[in-house]
């Protein structure tokens, strides 16, 4: 007979060098789980390349900007054109008899320009359709993603379900245990209920802390995407004098017609610090050139430097600053309209590609944004307003239907809840190939203060 032994020591000695190698499938499962995370990283890698391209483009565009602003030579040929057009105008004025034709031509241009408006509208619609298409494509993608996450959720539900089952089994066990206990023990157990309550309170507290923690880690791992709306008042302006409409209007005062850009934004978190942001915005840029007089004529102003395309055969258009009109007596006598504003409106669909770098993440997040945007022109209109009357003159002929901008700005995020946050983001966007030719040194940029409500998922 062996000596009696403390039960603790019996177990301690037996289990001291206890080792048991798990079956091979355990490592396979672990390996799969770890490498799955690596596979998931392939997409961000691709996005990182896009981000790198965005930064590169930003650098190139800023280089362009510096290059352009030092290269004043560009303006010189425009000035030559101005003198040319002056000659034209002088020639024109010597021919007083032609005035009549000019006056006759005006009504017809007005109606024709309306027609032309219709045309531009229909092209606009086409653009919109293509936009809608791309949106639906986007939607399909997100639908797929939603389906994926749903299936994930289902599996996790299944896991929960099995857990619950086990729990039920456990509680059954417990009940059995309880039944096995002798009655005095139960009585004392009842006395201890208060202690239990306290303990369970503690349990709940720690459980809450736990879930908080888990949610935090979940947030880090799962809520990589966010989607939101954007709305921004936009101020369009130029870095230098110049007029894309007519070189002779370079020195006229120009003001931005405040307009609004709005759209959708998608954000993908690459890592703790960096996220990639894209979306789709509509953008209407407008500015007006003050103190302009216009003249319409058939076949007289062929050599005018004006970049307005009236699309009407045999009719051309000249614009001139009122300052010149007043100072030059020969022009004064001509049939130029009275002083008014020349308005140019450009409508774009903007696709921004931006990288967001997190500088500070508290309740309020501070980020730096940089990237570029691609613009698709869908609206292009030049109109003239004098004495409260607006006439559509036509469209600018020197606008590229596709152009780009370099973007730079700040972004402030404020979390309303774990899922919702609002952001406000002042952005500077410098357009660098708005005009295909003779922009007269006009270097457009715009400032927008983008704000929106965003949803993380």
């Amino acid at each position: 007979m062996n000596e009696r032994k403390n039960i603790d020591r019996l177990f301690q000695e037996k289990f001291k060098d206890f080792e048991d190698f798990p079956p091979a499938n355990v490592w396979k499962n672990i390996e799969n789980q770890i490498s799955k995370k690596k596979k998931r990283r392939i997409v961000p890698l691709w996005l990182r390349l896009v981000g790198a391209a965005a930064i590169l483009l930003l650098i190139i565009s800023s280089g362009f900007w510096i290059f352009n602003s030092t290269d004043k030579d560009q303006i010189v040929p425009n000035e030559i054109i101005i003198t040319d057009s002056d000659n034209n105008i002088d020639l024109l004025n010597e021919n007083d008899s032609k005035d009549k034709i000019v006056n006759d031509a005006i009504p017809s241009t007005v109606t024709k320009s309306q027609e032309q408006n219709l045309i531009s509208k229909s092209t606009q619609k086409k653009d919109q359709i293509s936009v809608v298409k791309s949106q639906t494509r986007d939607r399909n993608n997100t639908n797929q993603e939603i389906a994926n996450t749903k299936s994930q959720k289902e599996t996790s539900n299944a896991v929960v379900a099995t857990n619950i089952k086990q729990e039920e089994e456990d509680s059954e066990n417990m009940v059995n245990k309880f039944e096995n206990l002798q009655t005095p023990e139960i009585l004392i157990a009842l006395e201890e209920v208060s202690d239990v309550e306290e303990a369970s309170k503690k349990d709940i507290q720690t459980a809450l802390d736990k879930t908080d923690l888990e949610e935090n880690t979940l947030e880090n791992e799962e809520t990589k995407w966010s989607i939101g709306s954007t709305m921004a008042p936009v101020y369009y302006n130029t870095l230098s004098n110049g007029s894309p409409i007519d070189g002779s209007l370079s020195d006229n005062a120009k003001t931005s017609n405040g307009s609004v850009s709005y759209g959708l934004k998608v954000n993908y978190k690459l890592n703790e610090k960096l996220s990639f942001q894209s979306g789709i915005n509509t953008l209407e840029l407008g500015y007006s050139t003050k103190n302009v007089a216009t003249l319409m004529s058939s076949s007289l102003l062929e050599n005018s430097s004006t970049n307005i395309d009236t699309n009407i055969e045999g009719v051309s258009l000249a614009v001139i600053s009122t300052e010149r009109q007043n100072s030059d007596s020969s022009i004064q006598r001509s049939s130029f309209d009275d002083s008014g504003n020349l308005d140019q409106t450009l409508g774009y669909v903007e696709i921004p590609m931006e990288l967001k770098y997190n500088v500070l993440q508290k309740k309020l997040g501070v980020n730096v944004l940089g990237g570029f945007s691609t613009y698709f022109l869908y609206r292009n209109q030049v109109s003239y307003t004098s004495f409260g009357k607006t006439t559509t003159l036509g469209e600018a002929s020197n606008i590229n239907s596709l152009n780009f901008s370099g973007n730079l700005g700040l972004d402030f995020d404020y979390n309303i809840s774990k899922k919702l946050y609002i952001n406000i983001s002042p952005m500077f966007k410098y357009q660098f190939n708005t005009f295909s030719r003779s922009s007269g040194g006009f270097q457009p940029y715009y400032l927008g203060i983008y704000s929106g409500l965003n949803f993380r998922f």
Binding site: N6, F15, D20, W27, I30, I34, E167, A199
Partner: protein, 181 residues
């Protein structure tokens, strides 16, 4: 390769290093997981989840304290977490019995048999017994880990001991009976 170098490679998500760490510690950690789980399958799941946590959080190991201790703590926490999620730990409670020395005859009891006995213990008894007797946590620490009072921890331990002794004794008497026939 030194352990430190191996750990650093794991921090860089090096596949080979991860496999090596697994080979080095899987035996000990699976044994640990077996003690804390109710059966072989559950022990596999716990080990698997524990290792996934280990490799995901390995950059948090700052070479303070032994690596093995760190690994063990993660596996234990993984197990505890599954019970916290199921929220079954606070279902039983009873009076604090006095700490009496519980003794058994030290005959040929197999490790497998003892492991089975541990696994058959109610969840919280098993956890408390493992933590206190086999992994040398104090009642205070156990109380914190399981969100119970120290008194509950102590009473759970003595209940566990009683159950284990009874089962060992029972098996012995049946063996003896069998021998008698």
């Amino acid at each position: 390769m030194g352990l430190k170098k191996l750990i650093n490679k794991c921090k860089q998500k090096d596949n080979k290093a991860q496999s090596e760490v697994y080979q080095l510690y899987a035996g000990k950690l699976f044994a640990l997981s077996l003690k804390y789980s109710r059966n072989y399958q559950e022990a596999q799941d716990n080990l698997q989840n524990g290792f996934i946590t280990i490799f995901n959080k390995i950059e948090q190991y700052k070479f303070k304290g032994s690596f093995e201790g760190w690994l063990k703590r993660i596996v234990i926490n993984t197990v505890l977490q599954t019970y916290r999620e199921k929220n079954v730990l606070n279902l039983i409670t009873e009076e604090v019995t006095d700490e009496v020395e519980i003794e058994v005859d030290d005959e040929q009891v197999s490790l497998e048999f003892l492991l089975k006995l541990i696994q058959e213990l109610p969840n919280r008894y098993r956890l408390v017994f493992n933590l206190y007797v086999l992994d040398e946590y104090s009642h205070r620490e156990i109380a914190n880990m399981l969100s119970i009072s120290e008194g509950t921890s102590k009473s759970n331990l003595s209940r566990a001991r009683v159950i284990l002794r009874d089962k060992i004794e029972l098996s012995r008497s049946t063996i003896k009976k069998n021998e008698a026939f």
